[in-house]
């Protein structure tokens, strides 16, 4: 495998692994927890490094994952005192741990490759140089790590799918039925931390958030079923990562930055063009509703005056705008649509309801 292909595969693995727990963060409205965790794991990484003096040690990964869970716990502890709201608690806990980590790097670990640039942006471009042979297969270490984390995430969400769904939708019922939302919450947070630790090497602290939140937020606009949202998140994340790689190559710039940019672009595209919930669909639906309501009003108006002495005057095309207080242009538009829909037909200058139009008027008035 060429290094270029390896980088692309790693990028897609990172994005897919991040998107999975991200779905539940978005649905639980705790998206910013991922921001906190992706920063505070640095504290664990530094502490771990100072203890084992080896950046590749699994102990370092375990320690860093634990720091992420610790962050969640500290935020909850602080929130539970009711002296601080959750968002402020996040803003208090994570900068503290993150800045401690930054101080420790510059003080004790500045001469290893754990530098502040790598922390912020990662170094996915160098990933193919760090190799690991497992079961006789020689692949970049990052590919093994992210593949393993992706598998762990798939396993957890696959096995606990029903439990995660219930505790995310209705934690009260989950508790009453004997499931433990707290256990599931911490299970999920452990995976978020582990995923952030793995992704950290590749894309750095800041972009982990983009990978965890962007694809699920886009998928949320594309479907109204949880299982599909999970699948779409993974697909959007992986494709954005791939697009980001090629953007970075074209512009000769940072791969991680380009990946996050493409996630933003994906979200923007979905936001505008999503078939049901996109902005265009929304505006078109609103415009359509305006015409539909107007046609109902027209039908109801004609029905009300049908057979009355005023009917001739009230149903004349030329005076309709006056009676309904519509502009002449709007009258033309409504009548044209009503005619096309076989609701009314023209009889000289007068409008007559068809059977369909009469049924619509009755339905609209008795609703």
């Amino acid at each position: 495998m060429s290094p270029q292909l390896e980088i692309q595969l790693i990028a897609m693995l990172v994005a897919a692994a991040c998107a999975l727990p991200g779905v539940f963060l978005v649905l639980r409205r705790t998206a910013m927890v991922s921001d906190a965790i992706s920063h505070t794991i640095l504290f664990g990484i530094v502490i771990g490094f100072l203890v084992v003096r080896d950046l590749a040690s699994p102990w370092l990964m375990a320690g860093a994952t634990l720091t992420g869970v610790l962050t969640v716990w500290l935020v909850e502890l602080l929130t539970r005192t009711r002296r601080v709201h959750e968002d402020a608690a996040i803003g208090l806990v994570f900068p503290l741990l993150f800045s401690l980590a930054v101080i420790m790097i510059s003080r004790f670990a500045g001469n290893v490759h754990l530098d502040n640039d790598a922390v912020l942006l990662g170094e996915i471009g160098f990933a193919p140089f760090d190799r690991l042979v497992l079961l006789g297969v020689d692949l970049p270490r990052a590919m093994w790590v992210m593949g393993g984390i992706l598998a762990a995430n798939l396993l957890f969400i696959g096995v606990c799918y029903k439990e995660l769904k219930l505790s995310t939708f209705d934690a009260g019922l989950a508790t009453a039925l004997g499931f433990s939302p707290a256990l599931l919450h911490y299970g999920l947070m452990t995976l978020v931390s582990l995923t952030a630790v793995g992704a950290f090497d590749a894309v750095g602290a800041i972009l982990v958030v983009a990978l965890m939140i962007g694809p699920p937020a886009a998928a949320y606009l594309l479907t109204d079923r949880l299982a599909r949202m999970v699948g779409l998140s993974v697909a959007i994340g992986a494709l954005s990562a791939l697009a980001g790689y090629w953007l970075a190559r074209t512009l000769d710039t940072t791969i991680a930055g380009a990946m996050a940019t493409m996630i933003g672009v994906s979200f923007a595209l979905v936001f505008v063009f999503a078939p049901q919930r996109g902005m265009i669909a929304l505006l078109r639906r609103r415009a359509g509703q305006r015409w539909i309501v107007a046609q109902q009003m027209l039908a109801a108006h004609l029905l009300q005056h049908e057979g009355t002495p005023a009917a001739e005057d009230e149903s004349r095309l030329s005076t309709l705008g006056e009676h309904l207080r519509w502009s002449p242009g709007f009258v033309v538009g409504v009548v044209r649509r009503a005619e096309a829909g076989d609701l009314v037909r023209r009889d000289g200058d007068a409008l007559r309801l068809t059977a369909r139009g009469r049924a619509l008027a009755v339905a609209a008035m008795t609703r």
Partner: protein, 270 residues
């Protein structure tokens, strides 16, 4: 089912948030096969009482038995309908899926719902007249329909004792009738149903048992004995307006066995 034990037996239950007691020394004993309303002013602890019984809030003291045993051993026999506003109705899921969640307790950890759960859920949706909405996204439902989805979800739990937190909140009169019909059907099948209720006027008509609550239990028993002017005044204090003799408004007919005169209430807190 052992008829000698109460369906619900709450003794000396006290719940406090920090230093403020929300429930104080509550004793409630509910026999099998009754439809009971919990009424009381805002902040009386009605929701907290249900949550404490279901283990959702931790009591400072006291114990609760469902059918003679602690709740943790009786989960399968208890159905729960939380307040409609307690969940996110934009959650990406279908009506049928939400109703099937009622079966998750029987399924236990890790087992996935299958054909049987689907059939039970569809049957429950039929009971609440929502079968044609099974595949709808839940955000497309009206408030009354959402409430009926929750009711259907409780029905598939196939419980003996049901707790419902304000099932009539924000539903129209027709839906309210439909829901009370289902609840009375449950009672007829020998189930015990406990409902947090707000409309005092309908208490004698809908329910046969009532608990008046205001942090303490004011009264608990058959509607004829417990739902009296005196008890209502103690539960609601000055926040209740009794219509004087000069009022031109019609009094609703008191139930025959209601000896303490009609409790005519206007402007009850909702």
């Amino acid at each position: 089912m052992d008829r000698s034990t109460a369906a619900i037996d709450v003794t000396d239950l006290t719940v406090a948030y920090h230093d403020t007691p929300v429930l104080w020394d509550v004793d409630v004993r509910v026999p099998h096969g009754v439809l009971m309303a919990i009424v009381g002013p805002n902040g009386a602890g009605k929701t907290t009482l249900i949550k404490a019984i279901l283990g959702l809030v931790r009591p400072a003291a006291g114990q609760t038995l469902i059918d003679g045993a602690p709740y943790a051993q009786q989960r399968q026999r208890v159905g729960y309908v939380p307040q409609r506003g307690s969940v996110d109705w934009d959650f990406p899921t279908s009506v049928l899926d939400v109703v099937m969640m009622g079966r998750y307790g029987q399924l236990g950890w890790f087992r996935r719902p299958g054909k049987r759960e689907r059939e039970l859920a569809l049957a429950a949706l039929e009971t609440v007249q929502l079968q044609q909405y099974a595949d709808r996204q839940i955000s497309q439902l009206s408030g009354g329909q959402q409430q009926r989805v929750f009711l259907a979800r409780a029905l598939v739990q196939d419980a003996q004792v049901y707790f419902m937190d304000e099932p009539f909140a924000g539903v129209d009169a027709v839906t309210e009738r439909a829901i009370i019909g289902v609840l009375q059907g449950l009672r007829a099948a020998g189930k015990t149903v406990v409902v947090v209720h707000h409309d005092l006027q309908t208490v004698p008509e809908y329910f046969d048992w009532v608990t008046l609550l205001n942090v303490r239990v004011i009264a608990c028993g058959p509607v004829a004995e417990a739902f009296t002017d005196e008890h209502l005044r103690r539960a609601y204090g000055g926040r209740i307006a009794f219509l004087g003799g000069g009022s031109g408004e019609p009094h609703p007919a008191p139930p025959a066995e209601h000896d303490a005169g009609p409790a005519v209430i206007v402007g009850t807190p909702r």
